[in-house]
Symmetry: C2
């Protein structure tokens, strides 16, 4: 089957190089549905919102049932660009509509890259025309390449059952914070759902996936997740069935984001159990996942349980040290308020691989959560010390 | 004048090597007053509290007016050590009292270093006796050396006017988070103040100094600030006068902490003005000060104003992009929701030195704050990836 955003029936895509990136890499993606789509979107909660975020929110406020296309560029975020930037976003949508023979209000726009620079509109115009020519049911992979910034690989996933398919693409790889969708993601499905139900499903899925990952705790000005449903399968799934499938796609994409985070050498699945409430579990998990001391210890291969316990302690949740139990892999390293007499070599082995599993039981209740995070490496510092130059 | 904790009349100190640190460096400090001291303390708000924190809080609950000594060790935090660790803290106080001929409830204890290991009590016992022998009015410098962990230099400061003196020492250098005293600090004065007034002065001073710095956003299990006033000057200052002087000492020590933070190559003074409330200003400033993307950009010499603006945007304060103005040094780089037409070379020069000044005006009100932070370097990752080994 075709991967990513073209996995579902009735979707085509393309990725082209229009010259925004100096390297000549693909930098403009177009995703188009043959039919009008119901659409749901989730956007950054940052008070500083990029022009495409402002534009898409306004567009979706008027039209959630007849979206046809998403145009995305990398290399320039069109953020902190004032009214002119908003005009650029609108012009991009209009040019795309013209190239496709649809209306501007049927087009959503996405941008990612450097903040504070205007979009090079001549290049965008040419890129949109080029991409419209190259649309193909096999274009999902090129589109996924075209939205990459410091990502080292494209991120696509899709699932299909006998009735419908859901596919998607996303990009990272810095400014990833587990509080609202933290990157660009485009999800497509040929299932038939009304916008309200689509919105419910998306909120649930994002909350269990993109909102459960952490790379560096920074939150971008451009974060957007869009879900387009064109109904081409003719099948109307039960909301629970659809939500479950959508969540699987989002979790897979979210994990790909973490694995390809800037400078990442370790992928960490962190499970917090025994919390009074899920909110408590999430708060503890995020404190640990965002701790620079925990992340650098993991990078150094140091099973430093003390930093994990300390992070839980300052999470703001009323944890009780004497009730907490901590495992690295299957090695129980902490219980009864102090380290167990675990074998140091075994705990080091437990975090030696690329995939690390950490579990913290709070011993207070039945609620739990899972988050995915990564280590903090020399390469993260190198990448982010030199991003603009 | 004598520096640090022995600057005020009637205080003696010593720093000795008792073998907790494998390197043979100084690792046990003793600060003793010739007279009973009024005492105020502030402690970590981490739910996971080290044994000396628990012990000192209990001691001060019973005795705030006749403290005579503080004994501090580095190399072992005595955190996550259960009831046995609490016994060790008590034994340390008892041994110190015996060596000094005072009562155990007149002694406070501090520990810093690796979490989860028991104190080597035989070494502590010998060290306490040794330090008691070596007490001297010139011992402030040795004491400051003896509480260092990854600090590269001791941190001491004192001021004296015609009536009284205030001196202090502190240590960093990781796990520094601007939310409660984030390190060990011992402050001494020969001014005469009742415990309640001392407590008021300390809370004000710490709030304007140690609570306004950030190195990595992690909060330790051991953070403690102690202030001892022995009244040896015979002078009872006005509370405002004393608080002002104490704040000056704390701000100086806090800045030394940041300058010597783990892997620090840049010291950043960040001023946020034009906020509705001071709390708003602090919240915005801390979001910026803790942002890994801002910190790595500074390390790389990149005047990346977009990351500063984005961090303000996700601070949780209702900032308005169109009203914000940002300066690196004296270069205004952002206004009216977008970058100014500033000279890129000038903005790069503005952050090229070791001392960087950043000012963000929110354009909403009259409240303001100043925080001190640092960059995030390769060396921070190296130091914290290998701390235990």
């Amino acid at each position: 089957m075709t991967i990513g955003v073209t996995a579902a029936k009735g979707f085509q895509a393309a990725g082209v190089a229009c010259g925004i990136k100096k390297t000549g890499a693909l930098d403009l993606a177009l995703v188009v549905s043959d039919h009008d789509c119901a659409c749901a979107g989730m956007f950054t909660t940052n008070r500083v919102q990029a022009a495409p975020v402002v534009y898409d929110k306004a567009t979706l406020a008027k039209n959630r049932s007849a979206i046809r296309a998403v145009v995305a560029n990398s290399g320039c975020a069109n953020a902190c660009t004032g009214d002119a930037g908003l005009d650029d976003a609108r012009t991009t949508a209009e040019e795309t509509a013209r190239a496709l023979g649809i209306r501007a209000e049927q087009v959503l726009v996405l941008s990612t890259g450097v903040i504070g620079q205007r979009l090079p509109m001549e290049k965008i115009r040419a890129g949109v025309k080029d991409a419209a020519q190259k649309l193909s049911p096999a274009g999902g992979d090129d589109a996924a390449h075209a939205i990459m910034t410091t990502d080292t690989k494209p991120k696509v996933f899709a699932i299909r059952n006998s009735q419908f398919a859901i596919g998607g693409m996303c990009k990272g790889a810095g400014m990833i914070h587990p509080n609202m969708a933290t990157m660009l993601a485009v999800l497509t499905t040929d299932a038939k759902l009304a916008p309200d139900l689509l919105d419910q499903a998306l909120r649930h899925a994002v909350n269990q996936s993109f909102n459960r990952i952490s790379i560096d705790g920074d939150m971008s000005t451009n974060d957007t997740v869009l879900l387009l449903a064109n109904g081409a399968s003719g099948y109307t799934p039960d909301l629970a069935e659809f939500t479950e499938a959508l969540t699987r796609v989002c979790v897979n994409l979210a994990q790909q984001l973490v694995r390809d985070g800037e400078g990442v050498t370790k992928f960490v699945e962190l499970v917090v159990t025994g919390a009074h409430t899920e909110a408590d579990a999430v708060r503890v998990a995020k404190a640990i996942a965002n701790s620079p001391l925990v992340k650098t210890a993991l990078y150094g291969g140091d099973a430093n349980w003390g930093r994990v316990i300390a992070a839980a302690g300052y999470s703001g949740v009323d944890v009780e040290p004497a009730k907490m139990k901590l495992w690295f892999g299957d090695v129980n390293v902490f219980a009864n308020g102090m380290p167990t007499d675990f074998d140091e070599a075994a705990s080091t082995r437990a975090i030696a691989g690329r995939d690390v599993f950490i579990r913290l039981d709070l011993g207070q209740g039945e609620a739990h959560t899972t988050v995915w995070t990564c280590d903090l490496s020399h390469d993260y510092v190198t990448i982010n010390g030199k991003y603009r130059t």
